[in-house]
């Protein structure tokens, strides 16, 4: 059926949005079949975002763990994370669709900054929904968005984090559906979003695959990425899906006390924000409170394609908790001179466990973003 990955995905939205999703679907299929669209996308990737991003050999980290670690440097993108790839792709689409206004949700603020950036670039009004808890812990990004001319709309409802910001963005979209384009930031939501977002993020995997072949003459044993909604992970996984390469997503285990963001590990299939996927929920079907030190992983759902890949066992999903992520943050700073985002620190944090089980292997870690935004949180936790 349309927009499903096995039993996951679909379009579970208020009826008002059905025509908007149909319109989006038509625009996506028209644009994706048009070479001019992809040429435009590529030129922005090259001349504005700064792609291709390097694949860096992490020499001291490799020596530390006894495995060869390569870092895909999405932190070096303009605005500091992979989120800009998707934001550029979608705003080009929104312009083709003649939309006048852009809205977005954000957790860590990286997607909000990326969206505010492309809106400044194209001179479009922009509203970014953000939970008040995230506004507190990602304050630098809030100031950046405001400087870029976006309106940051605080969301106090529920847990005041990413899921509530997403609900509020959807409410705005239902209300202003004719004029407004919803620039969703991860591989979640109703069809065609998960597909479209993957198509804009797969550039990560395409580059990484050819870079690793160039530099090592072979494919890696594993590709590792953190999973919030799953966009950086699906972006890098997609290029290796037909290869004999282990695909490992890393979910946020929080403080290990039951509240976490590990939907695939602990969730049950359910519907949130327009799609069916693994969902952290209680026995009454109410969505559970989540926690992760990384705002971008603090979300009870996950993209439907990850649910599918886990079900067919093509990819595996591991756990890293807050303190392991903090330790990884420190380690990468001190060994490689790179400050990873706390989200990406989860992927780095998994290396310790992986190396113990797989000595002598070669891995690529998707370093999805840089950690400047998190210095405040890390200091609070006592660096």
């Amino acid at each position: 059926m349309k927009g499903y990955y096995g039993e996951f995905g679909g379009q579970y939205v208020p009826e008002t949005l059905i025509p908007a999703l149909d319109e989006l679907e038509r625009a996506v299929s028209c644009a994706f079949g048009d070479d001019i669209f992809w040429e435009e996308f590529s030129s922005f990737m090259r001349d504005y975002v700064g792609r291709p991003t390097p694949l860096t050999c992490a020499k001291r980290l490799s020596a530390h763990y006894g495995i060869d670690v390569w870092l895909k440097r999405e932190d070096l993108n303009h605005t500091g994370s992979h989120k800009i790839n998707n934001a550029i792709g979608q705003i080009l689409l929104a312009r083709r669709m003649k939309k006048e206004r852009i809205i977005a949700e954000t957790g860590a603020g990286q997607h909000g900054v990326a969206t505010a950036t492309v809106c400044a670039l194209f001179g479009m009004p922009c509203a970014v929904y953000m939970g008040t808890e995230d506004i507190r812990r990602q304050h630098i990004n809030v100031e950046r968005m405001r400087l870029l001319g976006a309106e940051v709309v605080p969301v106090k409802s529920g847990t005041a984090t990413l899921k509530d910001a997403t609900s509020e963005a959807i409410r705005d979209w239902v209300t202003n559906v004719d004029s407004t384009y919803y620039l969703l930031g991860s591989a979640v939501g109703p069809h065609p979003y998960p597909y479209m977002v993957k198509m804009f993020q797969k550039i990560i995997g395409e580059e990484a695959r050819s870079q690793v072949l160039d530099k090592t003459g072979k494919l890696p044993d594993a590709v590792i990425a953190c999973v919030g909604g799953g966009s950086n992970a699906i972006g890098i996984f997609s290029a290796f899906i037909d290869d004999h390469v282990e695909l490992i997503g890393v979910e946020a285990y929080g403080r290990g006390n039951g509240k976490n963001g590990a939907s695939i590990n602990f969730g049950i299939p359910g519907v949130l924000h327009g799609a069916r996927s693994h969902l952290l929920q209680d026995e009454n079907g109410q969505v559970l409170d989540t926690h992760s030190i990384a705002a971008g992983l603090d979300y009870p759902g996950v993209g439907p394609e990850h649910s599918y890949l886990s079900t067919i066992k093509r990819s595996g999903y591991r756990l890293v908790d807050d303190s392991q992520a903090l330790a990884a943050f420190r380690l990468l700073n001190s060994l490689e001179g790179i400050a990873p985002a706390l989200e990406s620190s989860h992927a780095i944090g998994y290396l310790e466990q992986y190396a113990k089980e797989h000595g002598g292997t070669t891995v690529i870690v998707n370093l999805s973003g840089r950690g400047d935004k998190d210095i405040h949180t890390v200091l609070e936790e006592g660096l």
Partner: protein, 252 residues
Amino acid sequence: MISDAIRSKQKAVIPYITAGLPDLGATGRIIRALSDAGAAAVEIGLPFSDPMADGPVLQKASHLALQAGFTMEGLMKNLEDWVSSADIPLIIMSYINPIMRPGMKETLTGFKEKGIQGVIIPDLPADARGLFNLCRDIGIDLIRLVAPTTTTARQKEVISGCSGFVYAVSVKGVTGARTALPEEVSRQVRAIKAMTDLPVCVGFGVSTAEQVDDMLAFADGVIVGSHLMDAVMDESDPIKAAYDCFRKLVEV
């Protein structure tokens, strides 16, 4: 039958109340009071943690009901009493996830066995044919929404997979009282009525007796939710508040 209940009323108004607010016992008494006050049917909204189609009032109601300890099990225990104490059809409105959690078939069959006559699911899958067939087999109405944005082709598709009544959403947006309703509603309702024999009821935003009368000039019924919950939520006597609020809407 829901459609008969709507047609038999001179002024068919369907109140919406959030279940479990302030508690399930009170919900039962509010349903009874609304039935006494002349409601055509009652729409019982199940609270959900993430009500993306609701405005501030129903979001708050959902939140408070969950805080007060609403559970599916508790609901199921009460439904039979509610059905037998009211002389009118009861309809359940729920986001899909709480219904899906124990299994669609199990939950819907449970509702049916307790005497619930219809369900409304605001985040139904786009292709709801399978669910419509399931509801038909169980013998419970699946009431579908038609929005101001819905195309004619989609209207036909929705209506062909709908029973009980057609829920015409009056505004682009979420639930919540509005001072003015768009002019296009009458055209929208007339267009739907030309396609189906089912009653067509207007909901979202209706909050005054005048609006009720305006809508009933072309629609078969009106649904009132946020306005009622706003009047009930913080009252020390929510039963009386619900009764009084409803009477004001239907009195000439």
